[in-house]
Each structure stands twice: as structure tokens, then as C-alpha cells.
């Protein structure tokens, strides 16, 4: 390596200082979930488990988590199907408007969420004549989740080439048999990586959700937003956040097991 030892130390120190700054707010959230003071007095004078007890008993939290999981699962499923189809079309064929299509797939995530939010809100209500509800959240989330699956799948397809599929066709397998027996198994880890990102994106989304959720639907971010500024509830929100951070071990563990097989959007 050509990086001089002195510069390596500069980089090392910069990295660890930055990581410290990244983790201080998270640790503060953990600490405040035990902070007896409802206004999160610093430094904390007394610690309590009260907020954890209240969070465990809160039906509001439980319903919101359930709604968020359902939305994220359905949106991810739609994104998996549409993202894979789009990736196969764009990687395997050259056609007029191909560049425009790839730009279009990125667009929902590259445009500010509030634009996507009000555009879909307006379309659902006035163009389609739908009432906002559960389905409208799923449709909105799927729209900006397609890109994560698309990016992972197209990067994988680019690397794989066509040889195995051609061999499969030459050996007499039809289009669907080839996909089921050859293409899909090779795509599997890319699909999982894309699905994890799509799930994460949907699970934490608030801006688009604000404009596309019905009055009865409350995803977890909406619940957090509604309770963050309530003195009685803010400590419970901290508990929820800590649980989320702890639960993130699962997807990160899965994506680490796939390490080296994820590309594009690596862990966005």
C-alpha cells in the first residue's frame, strides 16, 4: 500500500472520532430509555424501568409495529416482483427508451419524499377516487422500494452473464423452467439483499407515509411522530427506538452472511 503510516493514523483517528459522534446520539437514546426524568435531564439523576414496562403494555406501539411490518412485507413483495422484472428487461435487452426507464426507476427515491407523497396523495384521491388506507401506503412504499431490488438484481445479472441460461435453453428448458431452475437460484442472495433494503426503507419511512396513510392506519414512524412531543410518551418512544436498534441485529446479521454477494446499493 502507498498510504504513508502518518496518513494512515490520520484516517484511523478520523474514522474513530466520526464513529464516536455517530454513536453518541444512539447511546443517549438508550440512556434516556432508563432516565427517570421525563424531560431527559442531563446528566440523568435517577434511572428507572418504568418506560420499558409502559412500552411493553402499550397497545398503540404493538398495533403500529404490526401495521409497519405488514406494509413493509407487502411493499417488499411487490418490489421484488417488479424490480426483478425491470432488471431482467434492462440487463438483457437493448431497446428504445432504455435509459429513460432506468432513470424512472431511480426517480421515486431521488425526488424528495414530500413530492412523491403529495403526488400520490393527489392521484389516489382525485384520479383513482380511492380513500386513503392500508393499500395506499403499500402502493406508495412499493413505488420507492423497487429501486433497491432492481439495483441488486441488475448488478448480479451483469456479473453472471448469460452462459448458464443459454446452456439451459440449449438443453431444452423453456423460459420459465430456466428461470426457476437456473436464474432464480443464482439471483437468490441478491434478492434477499434487495428485499432487506426495501423492508428497511419502508419500515422507517415517514414523509410519504404521512400523505398516503388513512386516518385509521398508523405505522410505527407515524406513531413515533405523534408521541414524540408528548411529555408522557416521549420516554416510551425512546424504548421503542432502543428495541429497533437491537432488532436491527437480525437483518444486519443476514446481510453479513451474504457479504461479498451483495452489490450495488451495498447496504443502503
Amino acid at each position: 500500500m502507498v498510504i504513508s503510516p502518518g496518513f494512515k493514523w490520520v484516517l484511523r483517528i478520523a474514522t474513530f472520532v466520526a464513529l464516536a459522534v455517530i454513536y453518541v446520539p444512539l447511546l443517549l437514546v438508550v440512556l434516556n430509555s432508563f432516565n427517570a426524568s421525563q424531560t431527559f435531564a442531563w446528566p440523568p439523576e435517577d434511572l428507572t424501568l418504568e418506560w420499558w414496562r409502559r412500552a411493553a403494555d402499550s397497545t398503540g406501539v404493538r398495533d403500529a409495529v404490526l401495521t409497519s411490518i405488514q406494509v413493509a412485507l407487502l411493499a417488499t413483495l411487490v418490489a421484488l416482483v417488479l424490480g426483478t422484472m425491470a432488471a431482467m428487461a434492462l440487463q438483457r435487452y437493448r431497446f428504445f427508451g432504455r435509459d429513460a426507464v432506468s432513470l424512472l426507476i431511480i426517480l421515486p427515491i431521488a425526488l424528495p419524499g414530500i413530492v412523491t407523497g403529495i403526488a400520490l396523495n393527489n392521484a389516489f384521491k382525485t384520479v383513482f377516487g380511492w380513500n386513503l388506507g392500508f393499500i395506499t401506503i403499500v402502493v406508495a412504499h412499493a413505488t420507492f422500494c423497487i429501486v433497491t431490488v432492481f439495483n441488486n438484481v441488475i448488478a448480479r445479472l451483469r456479473r453472471l452473464g448469460m452462459n448458464l441460461e443459454e446452456a439451459s435453453a440449449d438443453l431444452g428448458a423453456g423460459t420459465f423452467a430456466t428461470f426457476r431452475l437456473v436464474t432464480f437460484p443464482m439471483l437468490r442472495s441478491a434478492l434477499i439483499a434487495g428485499a432487506l433494503l426495501a423492508f428497511a426503507l419502508s419500515f422507517d419511512e415517514i414523509i410519504v407515509t404521512t400523505f398516503t396513510a388513512g386516518a385509521d392506519q398508523q405505522t410505527l414512524p407515524l406513531w413515533i411522530f405523534n408521541n414524540l412531543f408528548r411529555p408522557n410518551q416521549a420516554p416510551v418512544v425512546n424504548v421503542v427506538a432502543v428495541v429497533l436498534i437491537l432488532a436491527s441485529v437480525i437483518p444486519i446479521w443476514i446481510s453479513q452472511r451474504l457479504a461479498g454477494t451483495t452489490e450495488g446499493l451495498a447496504g443502503r
Binding site: 393527489n122 392521484a123 453479513q256
Partner: protein, 298 residues
């Protein structure tokens, strides 16, 4: 529309095959139609419908949208001092957040990709990823608590001999840069990882000093990755209205103007007109980004 399969598929042996296998255009049509119906028709259609309303009016008495074509919304945007200030402030914040993130992310990514041992590299990737799973709102709120009058930053600031920024635009930039930092680190890291060590060695063998190699070899290679990361930091900041409400004091960004006009004022035409500003900015940005090849790095 002319279609050709990439290579090879068409000249497979002429044995009995299903129509799907024979016709590239048919397969392409079946593959591309569902995503295009969703994105091209529904999503683009929704965007188009929104921007059409920007040229309509709001009935001052009923609050309903009336289909009377005019440019008043854009004229008001252009001529009003307040909205101009907010637009430039938003742009300035988004640009500043992006620059701050690049400056912080680059050394971290360089360390992760080129200095850290493979084991440490894995740990660092996890360390950078984990905060993304903590709720965006909670992280913004954590900064609100830290920046409050009796908060932690007060103690830190006193130890360093500086005043804490309190709530305001500085706090907004800090919080946004904090929130979007992983989106900048990861693409740059991925870009640097693709840069072969041999290129750095070749550069050194040819007599380039460290700084020179960095400028002439590393930066050109990671530039598309930096642009890819900046799409996120820039766009996410451009449309934000929540963080500025949490830590920004009384300041407003474009997102707040849109939000308030949708909610309280129920003036969709004007909100749509305001929303065209970030859309136009992002389209120009994406167009420029595409030339660098950044979109393949997203």
C-alpha cells in the same frame, strides 16, 4: 420499438421451442410492462397530475381547487421575498449538508476500504449500517435533546470553549448531515473497494506522492460514487420538513411550505407550484449525475 436480445439467445439451435423463447420482443414486453404500468403510468401520471394543478387556482371561498389555467402560483413564488429566501435557504442547506457529508465520509471510507484489516472492515461496515435502522425521528429527536439548553452539547461545548448552536439552521445542518452520513459512506466505500490496490502501487512506483495519488488516481475513480451518494444527501435534505421542525427553531424550508399549504391552507395548487422547485433542481442534478456514470453506482 426495435428490440434485440443482448447476445446468443437468438441463434440457439432450431429445435421446437415455445413462442416465448423464440420472440425476444415478446419476452421483453412481458417483463417490462408491469413495472412500466406501475412507474410509468401510475407514478409518472401522479407527478404529471400534480404539476398540472400547479397551473390551477384555489377558490378563495370554498378552498376547492378550480380548473382555471393561470401562472399566478409561480408568479407569487417568484415575486415573494419570503418564498425566495426559503428556496435559497433550502438549497444552501442541502448543498452544505452534502459537502459536510463528503468531507466526513471520504476519510472513513478510505480507511475502511484501504487501511482496515478484512476483519475490521466487516465490523466497520456493520457499525456504519446499524444507525440506519434506528428510527430517523428518534435520531433527530436525540439531537434536539443534546442541543437543548441544558443538554449534553452544552457540556461538550463548554469543555471545548465554544457556544452550542442551539436550535436553528446550524442545528438543522448538523442533524441532517448526521442522518444522511451512512448514505454517503457506503457508496464511496463501495467505489474505493473496487479500486485495485495495484493502481495505487503503480501510481507510487511511477513516483507519485501520497497526496498526488489521492488527487490523480483515487478521486477520479470515486467521483461517480461521491455523486451517487450526494443524490441522496442532497435530495433527502431538499425535501425535509421534519428535522427542521425538530431542531430548526422557527426556520422554514421548502418542505414546510409545501406541507403547510397541503394541510392547514389546503391549497394544493400552490403546494404543487412550490414542489416544482425541488423537482426541477433534482432533475437537473440527475441529468448532470448521469454524465458522470454515477447512476450505476446508486
Amino acid at each position: 420499438m426495435t428490440t434485440t436480445a443482448v447476445e446468443g439467445v437468438e441463434d440457439a439451435p432450431a429445435r421446437r421451442r415455445a413462442p416465448l423463447a423464440r420472440r425476444a420482443w415478446l419476452r421483453l414486453t412481458l417483463l417490462i410492462t408491469p413495472p412500466m404500468l406501475w412507474l410509468g403510468l401510475a407514478y409518472l401520471g401522479a407527478l404529471a397530475a400534480l404539476f398540472v394543478t400547479a397551473f390551477w387556482d384555489q377558490d378563495p371561498f370554498t378552498g376547492n381547487t378550480i380548473r382555471h389555467w393561470n401562472l399566478d402560483n409561480f408568479r407569487l413564488l417568484w415575486e415573494s421575498e419570503v418564498y425566495r429566501t426559503i428556496a435559497f435557504r433550502t438549497l444552501w442547506i442541502a448543498a452544505l449538508v452534502t459537502v459536510v457529508d463528503i468531507l466526513i465520509a471520504f476519510p472513513i471510507a478510505l480507511y475502511m476500504a484501504k487501511v482496515a484489516s478484512p476483519r475490521l472492515q466487516k465490523i466497520l461496515v456493520v457499525a456504519v449500517l446499524t444507525p440506519l435502522w434506528a428510527s430517523y425521528l428518534v435520531k433527530a429527536y436525540a439531537w434536539r435533546i443534546m442541543l437543548s439548553e441544558k443538554g449534553m452539547m452544552h457540556d461538550v461545548g463548554r469543555a471545548l470553549g465554544v457556544d452550542t448552536p442551539g436550535y436553528g439552521l446550524t442545528a438543522t445542518v448538523i442533524t441532517l448531515a448526521y442522518l444522511w452520513l451512512p448514505y454517503m459512506i457506503l457508496p464511496i466505500y463501495a467505489g474505493l473497494e473496487r479500486l485495485p490496490d495495484s493502481m495505487l502501487e503503480a501510481s507510487a512506483d511511477l513516483g507519485a506522492r501520497g497526496g498526488h495519488s489521492l488527487r490523480r488516481v483515487v478521486l477520479p475513480v470515486v467521483f461517480p460514487a461521491i455523486v451517487a451518494g450526494s443524490i441522496f444527501t442532497f435530495s433527502l435534505s431538499l425535501g425535509d420538513y421534519i428535522t427542521v421542525r425538530i431542531v430548526g427553531g422557527a426556520n422554514q424550508m421548502l418542505g414546510n411550505v409545501v406541507y403547510d399549504n397541503i394541510g392547514a391552507a389546503n391549497n394544493l395548487p400552490f403546494a404543487a407550484a412550490v414542489a416544482t422547485i425541488p423537482v426541477v433542481i433534482m432533475l437537473v442534478y440527475l441529468g448532470a449525475a448521469r454524465r458522470t456514470g454515477a447512476l450505476d453506482n446508486v
